[in-house]
Point group: C2
Chain length 115, copies 2
């Protein structure tokens, strides 16, 4: 029950920060249905190659995605699918008070998150 120590707080804050950019959310969203390489993610997200690469680098550092190079391509996939539970929770909370409810709720809430 004691106050969490500062190091722990920084870790958690860091994790949330990784999720605090629209472009990264778009990338994570694109990875919901399986791994994709940088080119695919660049096209889907509509960002520049350099920008997406940098975001992927950050997401990898923060352990949100995993990197695997095959041939001349590099494939990324979600490291822990519970990240989508986070997004669902946030969407739920925002949806509760926003007119955007429908737009938002269908974002990350796909078919089934096993748990």
């Amino acid at each position: 029950m004691s106050a969490p120590d500062d190091r722990a707080l920084e870790y958690v804050a860091r994790y949330f920060k990784a999720l605090a950019e629209p472009m990264r959310l778009k990338v994570l969203n694109a990875l919901q249905d399986g791994e994709k390489n940088v080119g695919q993610l660049t096209e889907i997200s509509g960002g520049s190659q350099a920008n997406i690469s940098k975001h992927l680098s950050l997401l990898t550092q923060y352990n949100l995605v995993e990197r695997e190079s095959r041939g001349t391509n590099v494939y990324y996939k979600i490291a822990d699918p519970r990240v989508y539970d986070l997004c669902e929770l946030v969407c739920g909370q925002i949806g509760n008070r926003m007119t955007l409810e429908n737009d938002i709720k269908k974002m990350f809430v796909t078919t089934n998150h096993v748990r």
Copy 2:
């Protein structure tokens, strides 16, 4: 299943951003056991009065806390307790791969989150 529109992504990112600062997490943590006024939160968090006030202002804007002034004091409380579920999820994910596991897990994981 279509890509979430940009406005929705920005809302979600904004919400995560509110959670992406250690001092704000500290404040939210301090509010777990009920409302507190600015003076109390300032003391608990160890920040300056001005700084805490600014963070509270932001948390209010982003609808994470609710504000109620009574007399010369202003009391803040959690707007939606599901915010702690978010923190638990993050702690769980971090805890899974960090040595800090114990430190972190006991942070936001208190007695009972009704659901």
